[in-house]
């Protein structure tokens, strides 16, 4: 890989370079290893996003936090920081922990207002919805950045 592409990916802020470079270093004895790894990841993420969507509809917080936890692990292993941060939010909100004091009213995802917001699951669902949208956004951006780096469309 050219240095130019490495710098471009680093500048994108989508990946934790120390983790990513370690993965790419694995290519030296198996060409295309890191690329196939990211391809597996992309497939997995698409599936997981779909599952999160379904569980958002059913307002199943327990399942949502498990999914957030799972995706967080994947993102962390591959050094995809943007997705990682949002997965952490999903996991925390699933535990009904507004750890970052996020003001859900600012989010376009929060359309319905409840009298006593924090006591209803709707509040947490709205927070997770927000995190999911940002995770999707991070995923799309990461995918673009990675596609440029690997010179291939994921």
């Amino acid at each position: 890989m050219s240095d130019e592409k490495s710098q471009e990916l680093q500048a994108s802020g989508m990946v934790e370079w120390s983790v990513f470079s370690e993965l790419v270093a694995m290519d030296e004895d198996e060409e295309g290893f890191s690329k196939s790894l990211f391809q597996t990841f992309v497939d997995q993420v698409i599936d997981t996003f779909r599952e999160i969507d379904e569980n958002l509809k059913q307002k199943n917080l327990e399942k949502l936090l498990a999914l957030g936890h799972y995706l967080k692990g994947l993102a962390a292993a591959l050094g995809l920081t943007q997705i990682l941060a949002q997965c952490e939010r999903i996991q925390n909100y699933g535990h009904k922990n507004n750890f970052d004091n996020f003001d859900v009213a600012q989010s376009p995802a929060f359309t319905k207002s409840n009298g006593d917001e924090s006591t209803t699951n709707d509040f947490w669902i709205a927070l997770i919805q927000d995190a999911l949208e940002k995770a999707r956004d991070g995923f799309v951006k990461s995918k673009i950045a990675l596609s440029r780096y690997f010179d291939d469309e994921f």
Binding site: S18, K72, L74, A76
Partner: protein, 439 residues
């Protein structure tokens, strides 16, 4: 009659500056109706009556009001604007409470009327307001405790009963849990045994089929479920020791002289790819099992130098699988790979027989330092076989473990397995302390 709302009212009142605690005490005592023969509400409920002043002075005043004589109690009542109800001589003949009764009345002091109590105020100028209020409060504190004694002992009795009941309950539940655990373990062992038998049948069938085909006998279509996903077209493959499962075991083929043989138990594809790659690079031959059941039967068949065990998996979780493996194999290091590093989880893993914990996500170096700790070199294996010491766990300094990333530099003593925690140490120094405390 429930005393609860009133006692609540009382507690609340003692929180603000105790303006008419005296009246509330009186009210509560009357509501509780514990001294019917001495003092009680009148029939109408708009006044109360002291039936027996002697008993009242002897029993109730010292217990509830800290007044030494009846007169001072009456003075106190007067200060709150209570009035003695005058009974004329004629009325006295029909008066139901007896000749010696003292009836007191205040317009806002009525049976069951807690709210109106707030209207009853201590009257008169309060030049000595500060001291007098303080004095009242000072004397009220012991009063409170005096009146509550009966409550407390009743509550205590109730709680004792509850505790006994819960203890019995808890005992029964624990018994049941241990029975269930035994059953669960037995079932898992039978399943593993069944899997093994199934595989042997499958292999034998394959040999037979192969023979038949080679003898030129045409076989009818067979519904022949394949435990290791190896197709009928290549039955020879099944002659190798094989595993059941969605993903067949994966032997790394490009290793000429594998230093170690590691079993990777993991159900997630990304993790499998990544972890296997790291392991191969370290010089390990890697076998992958994708759930706990497969892990058990695989370890039964083959001796591994080390097992990396995910926790959350389909069919059987890693912790349970480990406890089953430990029933027939106490030596092979089993490393839990997990994102859950809460106290409870860690204790649970270690209790199930895990040798160490590798917190997810981990870097290559994290993995390698764990491998360095637990993979024994040949000389060490020999030494370990001579020594009868069971693996023991103790805590090592991470700096140490990081300083010795390669097995060659390993300073491990035979029979000793160190606990190292990798990734979280970098991220969260608290976890180190947590784990040291646990162990």
């Amino acid at each position: 009659m429930s005393g609860l709302p009133f006692s609540l009212g009382l507690t609340a009142s003692s929180n603000f500056s105790g303006s008419n605690d005296f009246v509330k005490k009186l009210f509560q005592m009357l509501q509780e109706d514990g001294y019917k023969d001495v003092v009680r509400w009148t029939h109408n409920g708009d006044s109360f009556v002291v039936l027996n002043t002697n008993e009242f002075t002897k029993e109730i005043l010292p217990r509830h009001f800290k007044h030494s004589n009846f007169a001072s109690f009456v003075r106190q009542l007067n200060k709150y604007d209570f009035h003695k109800v005058k009974v004329s001589t004629e009325e006295k003949q029909n008066y139901p409470y007896g000749e010696d009764a003292w009836e007191f009345k205040h317009p806002d002091f009525r049976i069951n009327d807690l709210d109106s109590l707030e209207n009853i105020k201590r009257k008169g100028p309060s030049n000595k307001k500060g001291p007098s209020v303080n004095g009242a409060e000072a004397s009220l504190a012991p009063l409170n405790s005096g009146q509550s004694i009966s409550h407390i002992s009743a509550n205590q009795q109730y709680m004792k009963e509850q505790i006994e009941y819960l203890q019995a309950d808890n005992k029964a539940l624990q018994k049941e849990i241990s029975v269930l655990q035994t059953k669960y373990k037995t079932i898992i062992e039978s399943i593993v045994a069944l899997n093994t038998v199934d595989e042997r049948y499958h292999r034998s069938m394959n040999i037979l089929i192969n023979c038949l085909v080679q003898a030129g006998i045409k076989l009818p279509p067979l519904d022949f479920p394949n435990p290791s996903l190896v197709s009928l077209q290549v039955p020879q493959h099944n002659l190798l020791p094989s595993l059941s499962g969605q993903l067949p075991q994966v032997f790394t083929t490009n290793l000429v002289n594998p230093k170690f043989h590691v079993l990777l138990v993991e159900d997630d594809n990304v993790c499998i790819q990544l972890c296997r790659k790291f392991l191969v690079k370290y010089g390990c031959q890697v076998t992958v099992a994708t759930d706990g059941l497969n892990a058990i039967s695989t370890v039964e068949h083959t001796k591994y130098d080390l097992v990396l065990m995910d926790i959350v998996m389909p069919n059987l979780d890693g912790a349970t699988a480990t406890s089953v493996i430990r029933s027939f194999d106490t030596k092979t290091p089993i490393i839990a790979m997990t994102g859950n590093i809460e106290d409870n989880d860690l204790v649970n893993y270690l209790q199930n027989g895990m040798s160490d914990i590798l917190a997810k996500p981990f870097t290559k170096d994290d993995l390698y330092s764990i491998l360095a700790k637990h993979l024994l070199t040949d000389e060490m294996k020999a030494a370990n076989n001579n020594g009868s010491a069971e693996p023991t766990t103790n805590i090592s300094d991470t700096a140490n473990s990081k300083a010795n990333p390669s097995p060659g530099l390993n300073t491990l003593q035979p029979g000793q397995q160190d606990i190292i925690l990798t990734q979280p140490i970098k991220q969260d120094p608290e976890v180190v302390a947590k784990k040291q405390r646990l162990l």
